[in-house]
Symmetry: C2
Amino acid sequence: MKKIAILGSTGSIGRQTLDVISNYPDLYQVVALSAGENVELLRQQIKRFKPKIVSVKNTVKREELLKNEDLDVEVLTGETGMCLIASLEEVDLVVVSVVGIIGLKPTLAAISSGKTIALANKETLVTAGELVMQTCKQHNVNLLPVDSEHSAIFQCLQGENVSSVSRLILTASGGPFRTAELERLKRVTVKDALRHPNWSMGKKITIDSATMMNKGLEVIEARWLFNIDYEQIEIVVHPQSIIHSMVEFVDGSVKAQLSNPDMRLPIQYALFYPERKYTNYNKIKWGNQMNLSFEPPNFDKFPCLKLAYWAGRAGKTYPTVLNAANEIAVDSFLKNKISFLEIPEIIERVLEKHTPLPAKNFEEIQAADEWARLEANKYISK
Amino acid sequence: MKKIAILGSTGSIGRQTLDVISNYPDLYQVVALSAGENVELLRQQIKRFKPKIVSVKNTVKREELLKNEDLDVEVLTGETGMCLIASLEEVDLVVVSVVGIIGLKPTLAAISSGKTIALANKETLVTAGELVMQTCKQHNVNLLPVDSEHSAIFQCLQGENVSSVSRLILTASGGPFRTAELERLKRVTVKDALRHPNWSMGKKITIDSATMMNKGLEVIEARWLFNIDYEQIEIVVHPQSIIHSMVEFVDGSVKAQLSNPDMRLPIQYALFYPERKYTNYNKIKWGNQMNLSFEPPNFDKFPCLKLAYWAGRAGKTYPTVLNAANEIAVDSFLKNKISFLEIPEIIERVLEKHTPLPAKNFEEIQAADEWARLEANKYISK
């Protein structure tokens, strides 16, 4: 029986992780959960999965959770709570499914405690790729990707020599505005942008998918996760989201991983890696007509892609700044404070203003992150 | 430096194998070649690759080869010659690229001598799958598939546990008559049938592709090569021949292997397995628009598919008979003795008449093969 902690258990990936685990009550025991504000759902999860410890955003949320009910659980709060949960001695595997840079410190804590990590938090590798991978190496820790794209690449690399890889090909659905004219993007509402064609995800990630920043962040993640140059990472738009990504090898052979879109699959792959467990998920029916199409991404219509490659190649704290400015811009768009096309504009301005640090330790990364948030906020009309 | 023998060096796969090897003069030395009737090309190959021993069809061909020229090579003949070449002590790897059941005995000889086998001869596994795989097990021999489909599956299985496989999905181009009406198939000429949309191959295999018997034979090969039930082998028509086959795992994840159609790729993969070597072959350009389509095969229009599954499931010497009757029927079609639609008709009649043997040894297989050829010939109008 493996013991698991889930950071961000009330989010989209966290809920699906618990869904997967509930199918294997003999194989996984939930020891700890952390949530942000959704204490209502956390309370249900506590009753069902009986963790020993949970953590919530702050003491207000702690009181809200405990009020009117006698829960047999220890309740911690904030980043400290998350870090404690991530490094609990009895935990074998930590699922990091919180959204945002808040996932970084707990992830580093989990790695330093030698836990296996199932990583669904993009920001960890985007903002601190070098630091995180070094820490993994130091503590001989397996970092298992949960993102469908990186899981696909990871699956395609099984049994292969990493030195035989010539290119990683990240597929992108293209989001809801793939076929839209540039002109149309000027009038995009929050509702438009939240209408993702293939995946049901959290709001932040859905907007990132509409701007294609999501794919840009994944490029940076892939660079660190698979230790490969940006020149060898390509994006291809594949609207059906059936091929989740591909690896091209030096001989010209390409391996792809396919499935109907269902995040439980990469989650489960990470939980049981290197084993595969039977599922009854909706499998691809080859007896039906099917069409998979591919097209190059439009870097002009989706400047976030350019910005991400640029920041990735520039290195240092530029990716941290890219990510922080994007978080602020997306949040502001979701609050109707800026337009859709202002998202990349604001990120670009913040990147231009940035004086980079080497990004060798948490403090530098945190400093750059905080600077970028303040800077980005300067361009938001209140 | 590895030492290689190629059985069928003047055929399509044999020539391409030499083409691949010529790129790696430091890694492979050609020790022996066998050819059938094309002594002209064999002579050129002898001059270029300097094998110590070759084998040709018979003494007439031997004289033809040696006449007017002083070649520094030992020349053997017939099946005995091929078997000797296949089991030469100094040879490490034997490429079996002859077409037809004539490849079986030399392959068994090579396996019994502990050689690694790169197998491009379908008939070996179709007619004697159980026997061949048992012999491989006995002698701890690696049987590496060269067929693009089986190579694709083999590549997708690297790093995976075979017990996690739920289905093999063999892709088929559908051949030149994929979209043709059944009525049209009545008037198919040899020239029509030899016009394959994606691959340039030998005549026999091209006709097998037009009847889709090719895919039926591959299903039987896959059953033995990967030790999997017929119920778990599916065919999907994929006209672009970019995905060369796929493996579905128990969790619902599918792995596919892709490349532009080029037989040198699976040949090279087998030659250097488990390593991959750089090639400059025409790689897939993801920056272009591309469309991959999939549709179920039409078992009514291509009854050879039904016959192959039927013979495979029936087992014993039925697959041997399927193969032999098909060889006779295709040969007769190529000689304009029978019509295109008579190919499956003749095979079906021969299968119906067959009294199966257990197929546990070479003699039983040979007997069934010979019987089927005689029986098939009864239905050919001279």
